[in-house]
Assembly symmetry: C2
Homo-oligomer: 178 residues x 2
């Protein structure tokens, strides 16, 4: 495991990974309007290599905006508060790429819609009363809006928001009966 000259296959795989990471950052910064040329520039490779590895811009985009699944939590409201707390501080590259593109790319919009529906369904199960489905949809949509305001619109009030301050608010969303 000490020193070990990388094979060509390993070097190729490492290059492919660098390209994918560059694509996530470019799509995260400019949405689906990001160009293959800019992705290649960020990755430090030739533009033709991007297509050599991933076939087309569309295929690379699909990989870059694939959301990381984080639905394994048990205590849903507590998990939700943790999600919001984390989202207020940082945003994974793939998630940022997905959110940045979801209003101008039909594929990204569908991916986000599926993700929100799954999360809302999980949350609705943990809710007591009859309006659970609607309220769960409102909660997950609100978290999305807060994430956008924090990371894409740079609302000053959310810059230094403390996780503890918002936890109680989220709790009131899920427990208070309207």
């Amino acid at each position: 495991m000490a020193d070990h000259t990388p094979t060509r296959a390993e070097r190729r795989e490492a290059t492919a990974r660098r390209i994918l990471e560059a694509a996530q950052h470019e799509f995260g910064a400019h949405g689906d309007g990001a160009t293959i040329r800019s992705i290649a520039r960020r990755a430090g490779v030739d533009p033709s290599l991007v297509l050599q590895h991933y076939g087309s811009k569309q295929a690379l985009f699909s990989l870059a905006v694939r959301p990381v699944s984080d639905l394994e939590g048990e205590d849903v409201p507590a998990h939700l508060a943790e999600v919001l707390d984390v989202r207020l501080r940082e945003l994974p590259a793939s998630t940022k790429a997905l959110m940045r593109s979801m209003l101008t790319s039909a594929e990204a919009a569908e991916a986000m819609s599926v993700y929100l529906r799954e999360r809302a369904a999980r949350l609705a199960e943990a809710m007591p009363d009859d309006h659970a489905e609607l309220r769960a949809a409102l909660v997950v949509s609100s978290i999305m809006g807060i994430t956008i305001a924090r990371h894409f619109l740079d609302l000053p009030a959310l810059e230094d928001a403390d996780g503890d301050d918002v936890a109680a608010l989220v709790d009131s969303w899920t427990s208070t009966a309207p």
Copy 2:
């Protein structure tokens, strides 16, 4: 006021208005990636006429995404519930164009940020406790997220949401102390 042959200036103004409305719909459907050609096609005019009237695509975009100011309400929480109720059912063309473009256009992002800050400041004044600023920002951001989920992601649970159902929820956001 009966019959009256329109002058050239009147016809020109009517054409300009049709172009602006077409631009709002195109920007609302495709974001800032909408093309002058598609705008002209929707308006039923030649593409060069669009630039003849508005100078550049950027200038037309700035006019199309200018949000309509609706901050004259007195009872802020009640006004807010009404806003959310209206937003769940329909979305003005200029607002749709602004929201659709705000993640891929720096100008639209800044316009939306200013709009949210103004609304949050108004709301914070009507709030009692010390976390008013943060909570007001969370509320207006949540409304934005719900609007996106309803009109751009087509969340089924929000399709037929009743305004009365959400009013109480919004009220709990503004009155419950965390």
